[in-house]
């Protein structure tokens, strides 16, 4: 009367086999997860555009004395400048001093957007050349991310954020789709209007899907 050792051995082999399979499949699974790079959105302003143009000044006599203005031509795609925006006007030549100017009018031609910038300058002749520097920034924003984090499909723009969720083998990193409305964007960066509480994925080595488990680049 004894415990059958053969069956005990089979039991031990079976258990060891399952342990081995568990370690292997877990490792295999972990290694084959998509790798992602994450970032926290930054705060700040977005530089919508900056132009440095050399132009010719125009001197006109008005009710309050002489006024100077100059016109610069920008691409038609530029749509963020408004009347009263500030510009920096550098008087060239021997004066070489900088004055504050303002956009006084914006008109369109067939090919260009024409910004007329008025500025004050004493004893500045008509037809002299000036360097105009004009730039436009957004108001301070809190969710600025690189453009690579933005995805778009039929339902609109969305981001992938990484959350920590309870998975099969404990806490796992999972990407979740987060629909977003783009508030402002440049060629490199964009900002969304909603609050983002999780790290945003801005690079991955394979296509991601909502609910997919991921791991991070080392």
């Amino acid at each position: 009367m004894r415990i059958r050792k053969g069956w005990v051995l089979i039991g031990i082999i079976f258990l060891l086999f399952v342990v081995g399979c568990t370690i292997y499949s877990r490792t295999f699974y972990q290694w084959n997860l998509p790798k992602v790079e994450i970032m926290a959105p930054r705060s700040g302003t977005l530089l919508l555009g900056q132009y440095d143009v050399r132009s010719v000044s125009k001197k006109e006599e008005g009710s309050g004395g002489f006024t100077h203005s100059t016109q610069i031509l920008l691409p038609l795609t530029v749509n963020y400048f408004y009347v009263d925006d500030e510009a920096e006007v550098t008087l060239t030549g021997i004066r070489n001093s900088t004055r504050k100017g303002r956009v006084t009018s914006i008109t369109n031609t067939k090919e260009n957007l024409v910004l007329t910038i008025g500025f004050h300058a004493e004893n500045f002749a008509d037809g002299e050349s000036v360097d105009v520097s004009i730039m436009k920034e957004t108001i301070p924003l809190s969710n600025i991310m690189p453009k690579s984090a933005l995805h778009e499909d039929d339902k609109g723009a969305y981001l992938f954020v990484v959350t920590k969720e309870q998975g099969t083998w404990g806490r796992e990193y999972v990407v979740r789709r987060m629909d977003a409305t783009v508030w402002a964007s440049t060629e490199q960066e964009f900002s969304v209007s909603s609050t983002i509480e999780y790290p945003v994925v801005f690079a991955s080595d394979s296509k991601l899907a909502d609910g997919q488990q991921v791991r991070f680049y080392p």
Partner: protein, 310 residues
Amino acid sequence: MIKRKNMIKRKNMIKRKTWQGGLLYISIMALALLTLLPIVLLVTNSLMSGREIVSRYSMDITVFNVLNTEYIKAGDAPFHFVEMTFLPDYITFYQYFKLFFKSPEYLRLFWNSVILCVPIVVGQCIISVPAAYAFERLQWKYKEHLFFIYIIVMLMPTQVLLVPHYLLAEMVTLPPYLAIILPGIFSPLGIFLLRQQLKGFPHECLEAAQVDGAAHGNILYHIVLPNMKPSVAVLVMITFADYWNIVDQAIVFIKNVFDEPMSIALSKVMQNDTGMFFAMACFYIVPIVVLFMACRDYISQELSFVGVKN
């Protein structure tokens, strides 16, 4: 002449007995095979491809079973009957390969069951043996009253005790596994079973040991326990089978799907990943079969000695 007649009569009787015995044997074998059919079905079906299992057993209409669909009346949605078979169209071990090498989530279910069962079995063996000995051999007040309560608790269905267990676990904020394991360890079945076995144990041996100056601990460890191996084996077997197939307690206590034991998850696998079901079911029965086969001699002895005293 009479002698000859008797001999012929005896021969006929033997012949009849042989014929009847053969018929009985065939009937029993047929019944045994009938009871084995589900297991045969399980094993052979686990060698089917996932596609075949889905087309045969799930309700989905796929390109592989669309030709077998039926309509109750014109305009109704098509359906198909379950097409049970013992022989797969193609034999493949892919389901096992997938189970062992590509699905860590299913292996996790197996370990969940192990984590749940092993502490209960070990704990119950540790608790039940001395408790049964104390009930049988030691003299103390209200012993029989307490044992009566034990029997009452044992006779109660699990479902009746679930609510008190749940409330208690909530009150002391026990983790789900512990809320199942602790009542399992202190289950009265083991104590009852071992005490009944101890009743048949020759008391002279124990008294002789006591006369020689052995303490109760020594008697238990050196005399009682070696002679109670079959009972402990039966207890291990029953407890393991009971908690390996756990359903009620696990459904009530375990909220997280990833912590569920295999017994609960099997039904979900049938719904969510039909192709894996048979392979997983085969995997599920292996531990209990191995345990039974390892303790087979003890269990046979214990069952054959039931009711025999001294």
